[in-house]
Each structure stands twice: as C-alpha cells, then as structure tokens.
C-alpha cells in the first residue's frame, strides 16, 4: 500500500509547464527537445502519496496542483572538495610579495 503523506507537510510538487513541442519559438534545438519543467514547494493541503497528484499552499499563499515529488526537500548544494588548482594560490602570491618586500 502506498504511504500517504500527512496534510500540512512541507513538500515539493512537479509539473510540466510546456511540453517539448509547445516551447517558445526562439529556444535552441536542444532545449526544444525537452519540456519546460517546474518545481515548487509548499504545505500539503490534503494527504497524498509520492508520485500522485497533490495540492499545496505555497509561501505566497497560492494553491497549486502537481505530482508530489519530495517530502521536506533537502538543500544539498555545498562547497565540495578543495580544488587543487586553487589551494596553493595564497602561498604563491604571499611569497611574491615577500620577495619584493611589498607585504603590508
């Protein structure tokens, strides 16, 4: 049985806004081939299952329908690993400044 997500839960819904063949005429070919997709977060207005139709109230108070995509979606952007091409730069330029007697 599919688990229903409780009313009031912070979720994200997904919709196709414009199918691939209905996009703006000026978009390049690679973009024409794919749909215009939309993701919006809000509070679930009635219990719904992941992947099923759901209605949310957004932070601006609008009511929107779409496919329930995620529950309490995480912010996953980060810094990632240090980049070896950047790590030595500080040491290099400080050495240059010391060499020329310019460091404040």
């Amino acid at each position: 049985m599919t688990e229903l997500i409780e009313k009031g839960t912070w979720v994200e819904i997904y919709n196709v806004v414009l199918p691939a063949n209905e996009r703006a005429p000026q978009v390049p070919e690679d973009t024409q081939r794919v749909p215009l997709e939309m993701r919006v977060k809000g509070f679930l207005l009635a219990p719904a299952a992941i992947g099923e139709d759901a209605e949310i109230e957004t932070l601006s108070g609008r009511h929107l329908r779409g496919r329930l995509a995620e529950v309490n979606p995480a912010y996953t952007h980060s810094f990632g690993s240090p980049v070896p091409e950047l790590t030595p730069i500080g040491c290099e330029v400080r050495a240059l400044l010391h060499e020329k007697g310019r460091m404040q």
Partner: protein
Amino acid sequence: MTQESYAAIMDQRAEIMRASVDIDYEQYTTGRLAFDYERLMADTGYDIATALAVQKTTAVGKTPLVELKNITALARTVSKPGKGARIFVKDEEANPSGSFKDRRASLSVHEASKRGYSGVAAATSGNYGAAVASQAAKAGLRCIIVQEAFDSEGVVQPEIAEKTRACEAYGAEVIRLSVGPELFYMLLRVLKETGYFNASLYTPYSVLGIETLGYEIALQMQEQSGVFPDVVIATHAGGGNLTGTARGLRKAGAVNSQVIAASVDLSGLHMASDHDFNRKSFTTGHTGFSIPFTTWPDRADVPRNAARALRYMDRFVTVTQGEVFYMTQLLAELEGLERGPAGNTSLVAAFVIAQELDEGQIVVVQETEYTGAGKHPLAQLNLARQMGIDVRRGDPRDNKPGQCIIIPEHPSQLAVVNIDMEYVRRSYLHNAIKSLPEGESLSEVDLAFLAEETRISQTHVQEILNELTGKTR
C-alpha cells in the same frame, strides 16, 4: 491555443506589464524609436535624497569602501615602475541580503507597498531574488521569485540552488524552472494570476536605487582621499549596475571618473541551451547578457529599459572565468575578504587597469557579493569537472568557455580583452534599424536620441546608418 499556452500569455504581455509596474511608458515616446529617458526617470519622484531616505529605513547602503592594499602591492610587483594605481572595493556584501541588489529591490518594494500591491514578483536566478525577498519580508509583502534553476537531467546550478534557499529563508515562494527563456512567460502568468507588482530589474525604480551606490563611492572617496576616483569598474550584465552607478557618480559631481564595464567571457555558450546551462560557471556578469543588453537594452521584460549602459560606458572589457576564480582566492587570502566570485569580475579588470595607471591614481571596484555553499569557486569548479570541463593551471588566454577553465599560474598573466566600442555602437544601431517598423523612417528626434544612446555625434550616427542600410550621402 489554450489560455495558458506560450503564445496566449505572450499576447497579453503589454496589458499584464502595464498593470504590474503601473507606468504608462507610451507617454514618453518622442519619435519612431526615441523616448524621453530623463523624464521617465524623473517622474518616479526619486532623487538621490529620496532614494537614500528610503534605503535608510531598510538598512540598505552606507557600505564600507575598503582599500585593497595587498592586492595593489601585488599589482605593483608585476607593473612597470611608478605604475599600479590604488585599488578600492565597495563592500556591498554588507547590505541586508548580501549584495548591491538590495539597492535595486528597495525602491521597487517601497513603491509596491505605497501603491497598495499585496505582493511583488520577479524573474531572476541570482542575488536579485534574495534582495526582493528580503525587502518584501521587511515590508510585509508576499513575494514570488521565478528562477531558471536546473537542466533536463535535473542538475541544479549550485549558485542558483543557494539563491533558492536564500529566497525561501526570507519567506518567498520560489518557482524553479528548467532551462529556457520561458522564465518570463511564467512571470507573466504569475503577475496575471496574483496582481502583484513586477519588481523588474529594468524599471526606473531598479536603476534609481543603484544611483546611491555611485553617489556613495564619490563622497566616500572624497572623504577618504580628497579626490574622486579616476576609474570606477562595474561588473556588467543587464546594464543596471553600470547605469545606476554612473548616474550616481555624476550626481555627486564625479563627472570625470572613467566608467568601465567588465564581463566574464562566455562566448560560444548559448544562454537558452539546455546542454550549455551547467557548462557556465557564472550565472551573471557575463557576455551572454552584457553584449545583447548593451547593443539593444529594450529586450527586457518592460517596454523601455531604464538600464542603458552604452550611454555611460567609457570602456568595455572581458576577463576569463579562471582569472575571476584566481582573484576570488587573492581577495580572501590577501585581504581577508571572502566574497562571491561573480562580483570579482571587475576586480580582475581593476588589477590589470591599475597597472596602466600611475601609483597615485585610484581605481574603485563598485561591488562585492556574499559567498557561501554553492556560490563559491569550489562549488563551481567541482561542478565544471563533473560536466567534463578541463580545469587546470596555465595561461588564461587558452581559456575556452564550456571546454576548459584556466587558473592563472602567476599574477602577471592576468589581462583584459577590450571590446571595440565602435563595433558595439554599430551593433546597437543595427538593432535600432531592425526594430524600426516596416516602412517607417527615422526623424531628427530619433537621430538625436540615437546619438545620446551611443555617445557619438549625430553625423557619425548618420554615417553608420547609411553604411548599414547601403545608402550613400
């Protein structure tokens, strides 16, 4: 054609815009192409004093002007003797949402509030969204931000992911879209549905809000060094930053400060391409916006763009992505200022242009922006690698946008590429002719307008127009 099809919504563009910015642009028309730019700006009622007063109420502006002594010293290690002007930066990170965009949002949100709109909306994937959301939060207005956020594989550009988070932190609804110019179509749908105020980047309010930045730079420089800056460099995309700053400098009396535009070179990458979207390590301040907007500003979401950079630009240069990441590292490690990369585009230009000037002269970089997860060289370079882009140390001249990012090996390798201003003007005039309705011809008023727009004489405008249309005198 359904009610919400692309064509149906775009057909209603004029009326939706009219209701959502409450400016009758038509009344400013003076010719076939010409319009009264200064009257459009003045009719808003915001002079410098009024703008400063509004911005004071939300703690916008009055940011520090910081001398970058170590970066100046480094420039002098690679410049000719006696060269290497003093470099200063206006630390715009100190604004409430972390960038100069708060200035831009402040008057729009104030105006929306004054006119009784219940909310504000804007189409923006950058700092401006957070600025509008922040100002709206303080004003008690609802806010919707429409972003172009992810490609068809679902890969989110990390800087935009951070903007989503910031906007939501300020209580705004964020509509995240996949790649494409239909961002503006979605904005129109939202404006039509909600009746919100369009906090467009290109209304007079937006540009007038930035005038305080140029104004403060002039006065702070006077106070700190007794002179106006010799050069002010603005990171250039849609044109508002440069236009507002230059107008503010003039209003403070700094009429001789040279105003230089600097953009990141992203040539060869298509701005509306799903494939290219995550092969760009910069979401703004790049040539993908600055070239089209300089050569034809009236491509914005409002009928007349208040950001008209070509009117104020003394010089236009490009730098590479790798040079900006290198400079971002220098700013953190030599000056103790960890700031977002996009704002440092003009700092690269300053480092190079300072070496053309004498030691006693002054170059001001007019903004910084906040940094953080996603909005950082590490996040961008890690994504670039994931997208198959070659990241390496070397000569930045080997840079190929979308294919390789070259981090300089030595500060002497930093350089600017000058964009030929005559080419830019011709390109503007070419676009002007193209926009002229079939069968219409230019009047004297139009020629005078085009001369103001391109900062050349009417005779020169006429000569270029003749060449472009194949006519001889």
